[in-house]
């Protein structure tokens, strides 16, 4: 074990600073505000710091480490040139309050990204401000709220979500003050139009749904669902976490949605960074456009004076929407993530369709390979599809309920068994509608070999006896972690006195 707080070297050990500016009078802090006790931080030299974080990194699993089939998370490869680009001073060393003529490059990239997302989503206006998917949801729902408020339509206090929805959907709508109406899915995992009809009414502000849904299934009835909600006077919100399946194939716009968020950290390869940062732009149809948070990047013909500073035939500038709800992050969103995702977009361009095709190809192939390997290994009775379907989209679910019932082996046990074989486990227990759910999303950047091998390992894990699986993992940096202990014996920071 390496512990940061165990290091206690000399003052200024880790990072020697140049002398400060000399002043006539020493800078002073008002007497009552002088810090009396320094933070009890550790003191590490650079070698100690480098070794500590190298050690920690070796105890962490990333896409670079191995296959990461975490459903709903789109763990695709993060192209390395994007990191180089994001460290250029023209983005890293930029202040959002610099004047527009300092930021023509940034503005043009924002404009290009807005435009690209508009095209892909079939929306009329995109804002890049929200910094994560959940914030995108909240922002869009707020826009819808203001839209109705401005229309004087004040009865719309409810947001409908399917029971398979991601937790952020209800949480975001609730944060905006809406009441949540959850509708059950059909047995086949799809939206129940009757249930929707039963709840859609003049109190409906919006329905939030993702398509393909969280089971990885395309909701073929989506246009009808849109119709129902629209007929009731509500708005359709598209959770874009699953965009990776449909780029260039279909779009929320075509399906009748009014608003959508994108998870740039899923579809457009912003690295997940162990939990963030992300970027969650939203796109809306024209009637919602003037409610978006600003600033939006816009463009016009440059004046003669501007011509020399322009990066192309346009002059780019910020624009505030007329009825903007205001801001959800203090600046212009996660510009660094936007730049990376712009670089990603540029690599595919109009070929983004191919990217989605391969995402879906890989998911279906893996689903096929898992079933095949399970049959060959005689373990196909231990799981069923999370929902019946001919084809999945970019991800699919399995239910380990049979394994649970027949062997007492849970989805979590299987997940831990996979860890022992060098894989990150798929998402487990989400969506909630599938019992003992395992949600698998390979992404387009995994090779056929990786998929074949994983399928084989998956089947082999199911052959392992229950006792061994309960005890898994055994080859990981630590063994099964006691989450109950953690919650009962809260230790949330270094205990100096131990």
């Amino acid at each position: 074990m390496s512990h940061l707080f165990n290091h206690n070297g000399a003052p200024n050990t880790g990072y020697s600073q140049p002398p400060s500016i000399e002043t006539a009078v020493k800078p002073s802090i008002p007497a009552g505000l002088v810090r009396r006790q320094q933070a009890r931080w550790p003191r590490l030299s650079e070698p100690e710091m480098v070794r500590h974080y190298t050690w920690l990194s070796k105890r962490n699993f990333g896409i670079d480490t191995g296959f990461y089939p975490l459903g709903s998370c789109t763990m695709k490869h993060n192209p390395r040139v994007n990191e180089v680009i994001a460290q250029l001073p023209g983005i890293a060393d930029i202040h959002p309050h610099q004047p527009e003529h300092h930021l023509q490059g940034l503005l043009s990239i924002y404009y290009e990204m807005q435009h690209m997302l508009e095209v892909c989503a079939g929306m009329d206006q995109v804002t890049l401000q929200p910094v994560a998917g959940a914030q995108g949801e909240f922002t869009a729902v707020r826009c819808i709220q203001e839209y109705f408020r401005l229309k004087g339509d004040t009865k719309r206090t409810k947001v409908i979500v399917p029971d398979s929805a991601h937790g952020t959907n209800p949480a975001s709508a609730a944060m905006a003050g809406f009441e949540i109406v959850e509708i059950p899915s059909r047995v086949d995992g799809r939206i129940d139009l009757d249930a929707l009809r039963a709840v859609a009414d003049e109190t409906t502000a919006a329905m939030m749904i993702t398509n393909p849904n969280t089971l990885g299934l395309f909701e073929a009835d989506i246009s009808e669902a849109s119709q129902i909600v629209h007929d009731a006077g509500g708005q359709m919100y598209y959770d874009g976490a699953n965009f990776n399946a449909i780029l260039g194939i279909t779009s929320p716009g075509l399906m009748g949605f009014d608003a959508v968020h994108f998870n740039l950290h899923k579809t457009f390869s912003q690295p997940h960074g162990g939990g963030g940062p992300g970027s969650g732009p939203i796109g809306v149809k024209a009637h919602l456009a003037e409610f978006l948070p600003g600033p939006l990047a816009d463009r016009r013909t440059p004046t003669a004076a501007e011509q020399s500073t322009a990066v192309d035939e346009f002059w780019y500038h910020w624009r505030e929407p007329a009825h903007s709800i205001g801001k959800v992050q203090q600046w212009h969103g996660n510009a660094g993530a936007v730049i990376r995702c712009w670089a990603y977009y540029r690599r595919y361009g109009s070929g983004l369709t191919t990217m989605s095709e391969h995402a879906v190809l890989n998911a279906n192939y893996l689903r096929h390979a898992i079933h095949k390997a399970a049959r060959e290994e005689g373990v196909d009775h231990l799981f069923v599809d999370g929902a019946e379907t001919d084809v999945a989209k970019h991800e699919f679910t399995l239910s380990l309920q049979p394994a649970k019932e027949q062997l007492g082996v849970s989805a979590m046990d299987v997940a831990k068994g996979l860890l022992d074989r060098g894989y990150m486990a798929p998402t487990v227990y989400f969506p909630l509608v599938v019992p003992e759910c395992m949600m698998i999303e390979p992404t387009e950047t995994e090779s056929k070999d990786t998929l074949d091998t994983f399928a084989q390992h998956f089947a082999e894990v199911l052959k392992v006896d229950a006792e061994t699986l309960h005890a898994a993992p055994t080859t990981t940096p630590v063994r099964r972690v006691d989450e109950v202990y953690a919650a009962r014996n809260l230790c949330l920071r270094h205990p100096y006195d131990e």
Binding site: L56, F61, E83, Q135, P277, H358, D482
Partner: protein
């Protein structure tokens, strides 16, 4: 297949990210399918795109990099000018090791540590981050980041209401400093409106300090939000008295600039219940305003109603030390619409950079970094006080920012400075529309004496021009 056969026979782009290009047929055949389109048979024809996406053709890595260099090169990096722009974001030097370690694939390409057995690295790093922040701000609990300083402040307000609403004599009400920058205020309003929270404002004295009489009105409300140093850069000793005034049942929320805490008392030590702040000055470049990381720390009573992820130290089945996410019943993936926040993806990697920077600084290093910021500020005051036409607005202590008043309009003055290679600071009129002639001057560890002298020289040029045109 989307190969682009170049006239000269070279096969290009997008190939490099798709290992199964060229294997489609083999894979489809194994599934008993004919072509890719069979995989999309479930998508009704009427919602399908007709024809390819109307977007530009794919590019190779070299072309993307070269376009990025061209476009981003057209931006004016602060480091290429003399810059005094801060106003919430501060460019301090970040040691080289931070970048090299944070881009290690194991950190960079991981997801949220849902499988603790293979995510101990990030979990421990974030637990250490919590410990570092806790010590920095003087409170026992810190989460592992919110989106930025503004959302941290906004979530602090809703958290305060969740905790105190029952006993509040002014329920659903919070008080926020009137100096709060409007962009931040706007975030707060967005976050508060859903919970039907009313935001009232607290007034300030002419010297920039908080009007303690105004504060008295906040007693009985759910929470009070103040910044130290405040948005005008003023260090306000009065804040040490606020908790006493507002009382036990009103949360004192202090927004702090983390670097300042190397010299300035930790708000937790003078009664703050919640400390929030923009973490960026520790560990992160300014990056046009994002990604950043929001600091959120609190005392015990707020723990179970606070937003964001928390790591706890635990044990594994063998009794060995191990870390995992804990108290997740507050979070959206468990509690759904009753969650304390909707946050899911947060700013872990930027927080990790913060942790690395803090680890290298150590307590004395943080002090020195704060000192360098403050000394540059002091120097700027010493020089500008003698610069013709420049007046330092507040006769107060400042950390690394202060307001000046100049002749003529701030906007015009800043444009003049810009024309002379100086990013002169922040036009306070953008925050406070009634003010037309004040500029917020920011110094950091990157500010040199020459920078300040150049600013002073140009400001006196400006003054003399004003004299002429007046």
């Amino acid at each position: 297949m989307d190969f682009i056969i170049h006239p000269q026979g070279v096969v290009i782009p997008m190939v490099d990210q798709l290992p199964n290009l060229g294997r489609e047929e083999e894979m489809l055949k194994a599934m008993g399918l004919q072509n890719i389109d069979d995989l999309f048979a479930d998508i009704p024809d009427d919602v399908r795109f007709k024809g390819p996406l109307p977007l530009r053709p794919p590019q190779s890595e070299e072309e993307i990099l070269s376009d990025a260099r061209r476009l981003l090169g057209a931006n004016i990096a602060m480091g290429s000018r003399t810059s005094f722009l801060g106003a919430g974001l501060y460019r301090n030097y970040i040691p080289a090791s931070v970048f090299q370690l944070v881009t290690r694939g194991e950190f960079l390409t991981a997801y949220t540590p849902y499988q603790p057995e293979v995510s101990q690295g990030m979990l421990q790093a974030m637990w250490e981050f919590q410990s570092l922040i806790s010590e920095l701000v003087g409170l026992p609990i810190a989460n592992l980041s919110l989106y930025d300083g503004s959302t941290a402040a906004a979530e602090a307000l809703t958290c305060a209401v969740r905790v105190h609403n029952r006993k509040a004599t002014q329920p659903n009400t919070v008080f926020v400093s009137a100096l709060t920058p409007p962009d931040k205020m706007s975030v707060m309003e967005n976050y508060c409106q859903g919970a039907e929270i009313t935001i009232k404002t607290l007034e300030h004295n002419a010297d920039g300090t908080l009007n303690l009489d105004s504060l008295k009105e906040a007693a009985g409300s759910c929470g009070v939000y103040l910044e130290q140093p405040n948005p005008l850069g003023v260090l306000d000793e009065g804040l040490t008295m606020t908790k006493e005034i507002i009382g036990e049942h009103t949360a004192l929320i202090v927004g702090a600039q983390p670097v300042s805490l190397g010299m300035v008392e930790a708000p937790g030590h003078y009664g703050a219940d919640i400390v929030v702040g923009e973490g960026q000055p520790l560990g992160s470049p300014v990056t046009a305003g994002g990604p950043l990381y929001g600091i959120f720390a609190c005392s015990k009573p707020y723990l179970r109603l606070m937003p964001g992820r928390i790591v706890g130290r635990s044990i594994d089945v063998d009794g060995n030390e191990a870390y995992c996410l804990t108290l997740s019943t507050r979070e959206q993936h468990i509690r759904r619409h009753r969650a304390t926040s909707n946050i899911c993806t947060n700013e872990t990697l930027i927080a990790l950079m913060g942790a690395m920077h803090m680890a290298l600084l150590g307590p004395e290093g943080l002090h020195d970094l704060a000192y360098r910021n403050a000394a540059a500020c002091q120097k700027a005051k010493e020089i500008l006080v003698d610069t013709p036409g420049v007046r330092i607005v507040h006769n107060a202590s400042h950390f690394n920012e202060f307001a000046i008043e100049i002749e003529g309009s701030a906007e015009a003055c800043l444009a003049y400075l810009d024309g002379n290679g100086i990013i002169g600071g922040f036009d306070l009129g953008r925050w406070y529309p009634s003010i037309t002639n004040q500029i917020l001057i920011t110094t950091t560890d990157q500010t040199t004496e020459q920078d300040i002298e150049a600013l002073s020289a140009q400001l006196s040029m400006w003054t003399s021009h004003q004299g002429v045109s007046a």
